[in-house]
Structure formats: C-alpha cells, structure tokens
C-alpha cells in the first residue's frame, strides 16, 4: 500500500504523490464521490493505490486548498461529497503523465521494458 504524502502548495509540474495522482486520474473521467475514487485508485489502471477514507479525504482537503480539485456538491442525503478536477488539477495531471511518459520512454530505450507493451 502506498502512503500518500503531499506538500501544501504543490506546484504544477512537480512530481505528485501516488494518492494525489490516483485521485486526479480518477477525476479526469468526471465528477465522482469518495468511494468511486477509492475504487478507481485500487484498480491497476488507476494506479493500484490502496486508498482508505482518511487518506482520501485528507488528500482531497489539501488538493482543494491547492486548487487542484473542486467540490461540486453532495448527495441528497448529504453523506456523499462529489468532486471534480479544476483547470489547475488537469494541468498538474498532464504534467505528471508527461513526466511518467518520459520515464517510460527512457526505460524502454534502456531495454528495461519491451517496446509497445508490458513485459
């Protein structure tokens, strides 16, 4: 399990923690509530990060302060809170994906993973 640590005031382009990356990636699909993000993060496509409710909402709290996500509302019973990406969050996610892509290309060129697929 990854333990998420994120500094307050994360600058766009700076490497993101696994939890923050997984949340941003999940919200890239659209507005979601807490457990949907936890489930997405747990899947291999979502980063394979085991997020618990405490880590999730702690990260969301800091991400809102940093302007990466926005809360859009609550469910009718006000128990589920919904979030979406902000423009800054989308930019941060894009920068992180580019960084990972460059690292992946470098790993491929070194023969660490086969070209065009997973080992």
């Amino acid at each position: 399990m990854y333990i998420a640590f994120m500094t307050i005031g994360t600058a766009p382009g700076a490497p993101l923690s696994p939890a923050v990356f997984a949340i941003l990636l999940s919200l890239a699909e659209g507005e979601k509530h807490g457990y949907q993000m936890m489930r997405d993060a747990r899947s291999p496509q979502g980063g394979g990060v085991q997020l618990g409710p405490g880590t999730l909402y702690g990260s969301l709290d800091r991400m809102m302060r940093d302007g990466l996500v926005k809360e859009t509302g609550t469910s009718d019973d006000e128990r589920r809170r919904y979030y979406r990406l902000s423009a800054l969050g989308r930019k941060a996610l894009g920068a992180e994906l580019e960084r990972l892509n460059a690292a992946l290309a470098s790993a491929r060129s070194l023969g660490l993973i086969p070209h065009g697929g997973r080992r």
Binding site: Y35, P53, T55, Y57, R79, R80
Partner: protein
C-alpha cells in the same frame, strides 16, 4: 441497507468511534463522507473484508497521524504566533542580559572603593615626604589566600620600594603598560592576574590548591587601583584586594539571570502553545 452492511453494524460503529480521533475541524468536515465511503466499501462485494479491515486500520493509523500533524502545523506555524514568540524571546533575552550585566558592573565597580581610599591616603603621605617603608602599613598580606586589601609602592621606574603583600614569596609587578598609562593619566583601575606574570606560574594553571580563584580555573584575580605619586620622589602606589568574593556574587547573579531567562522562555513557550491551541479552530 444491503446484506453486507446489515451484518456489519459493529464494524461501522467501531469506524464511527475511530473517526472521533481525528482533529475536530477535519472530523466536522469529513466524518460523514468518510463513514459513507466505509459503508460503500462494506457494501462492495469486490473488496473482501479480510482486505478491507487491514486497509482501513492502516489508513486510520497513517491518516490520524497526518491530520493531527497538519492541524499542529496549521496551529503553530502561523506567522503572527511565531513572530510574537520570537519578539518575546528577544525581549526576555535582553532583560536577562541586563539582569546579569547591571549587577555585575555595580559589583565590579564597587570592588575598587576601598582601594581608591587606600591609594589616595598613601599617595598623600608619600607626597608629604614620608618614606615608603614607613608609609606602608605593617603586616604582610598573602595575596593567594587573603581577602584583605593591601598596598605596594613602586619608584618612578617601576621598581618595588615597599610592599604590604606577597605572592609566592615576592611582591609582583602590575601588568605591562600600567605604569606608562598612570604616568600620563594619573590613575588606572585594572583586574589584575598577578600569577600570569610569575615565572613559576606563567599559564595561571599552577594556582595552589585552596588558593583564591583556583576553583574557578582562572587563578588569582585582584581589583587593583594604581595612582601616580608626585613630589620630590615620584613613583606609583598600587592598592589591591582579591576579587574572590565579588566574583562569587557575580556567579550567583549569573545563575539567577540564567534561571530567570529559562523561566521567561518557558512561560513564552507555554503561552504560545496555549494561545495557539485555544485559537486553533479560527486558524484552521
């Protein structure tokens, strides 16, 4: 309510109880949403309970620590709070330095008072033509062991003519330059370490056990007043006495000032922590 959550009221109750351990502001904002996410996880058949329970326990441990740390950081890293604490610490440091420096100076300056009178009286007698051996009071003062004031008379070239005091069997001479200064200015007041000039105890470490100043490691120190003698037989008069008692009082003043400084810093720390804690909700 689904089958999983119907069978897990105890899990949910325990989780709700654990949520009370989060900082109040965080709890107020997210407890309901976290409880709902936990309930959703219980209801989700894709996540076996044997996976969920350890995950939630680890999450509680790490996120409780992180959120309390974040709360403390938000509470105590406020610039105004730190600035006020630093200003108060600076003021208390200046006060503590003054508490030490003012009495220390008063004590040290006061240590010269008897010698000023002794030297003045002796200069007057010598200028009236009284011979040095007669002018100097009878009896010997062992500078290494006695707290009594003493006088020494030197001629114009600095050679000792008569002495009421001895150190290691002879009358020591004052530090270089003292006579030249007194010749120009009439008087000099110095803290004199006579053993530093002695050939046998040049480095001051050979102070005899039990002698004055030995326990402080700097050896014997004398509060000396040197005055110019005019008239037909010019020369110099040195009046001195050990600084032992004065320095002991100075050490006590230093200790008291140090304790006062630490106490003031402690009060500032407690005040800062207390104020930061009680005003944390507004800061969050």
């Amino acid at each position: 309510m689904t089958r999983a959550s119907q069978t897990s009221p105890r899990f949910e109750g325990l989780y709700s109880a654990a949520l009370r351990l989060y900082p109040p502001v965080f709890q107020e904002q997210y407890a309901d949403a976290m409880r709902q996410a936990f309930r959703d996880a219980l209801d989700d058949g894709a996540l076996p309970r044997r996976t969920l329970v350890p995950l939630v326990l680890r999450d509680l441990a790490t996120s409780l620590f992180k959120e309390h740390l974040a709360m403390l950081r938000d509470t105590f890293s406020r610039p105004a709070l730190i600035f006020n604490a630093l200003v108060l610490a600076g003021i208390s440091t200046v006060l503590a330095l003054a508490l030490y420096a003012i009495p220390q100076q008063v004590l040290r300056q006061g240590a010269n008072d008897p010698q000023l009178q002794l030297a003045g009286d002796l200069v007057a007698r010598l200028e009236q033509g009284v011979a040095p051996a007669e002018a100097v009071p009878a009896g010997q003062v062992d500078m290494a062991r006695s707290l009594s004031p003493f006088v020494i008379v030197y001629d114009d070239r600095g050679k000792m003519l008569a002495s009421q005091a001895q150190l290691d069997g002879s009358a020591p001479a004052p530090p270089d330059g003292v006579f030249a200064y007194v010749r120009q200015n009439g008087e000099e007041r110095v803290s004199w370490q006579p053993r530093l000039r002695s050939a046998s105890t040049r480095d001051g470490k050979a102070a005899v056990d039990g002698s004055l100043g030995a326990h402080r490691g700097h050896g014997l120190r004398i509060a000396a007043v040197v005055q110019r003698v005019g008239g037909a037989h010019p020369g110099f008069v040195l009046a001195g006495r050990s600084l032992e008692q004065v320095e002991e009082r100075e050490a006590q003043v230093e200790q008291m000032a140090g304790v006062a400084w630490i106490a003031m810093l402690g009060l500032i720390l407690m005040g800062t922590v207390g104020f930061g804690w009680f005003s944390r909700a507004r800061a969050a």
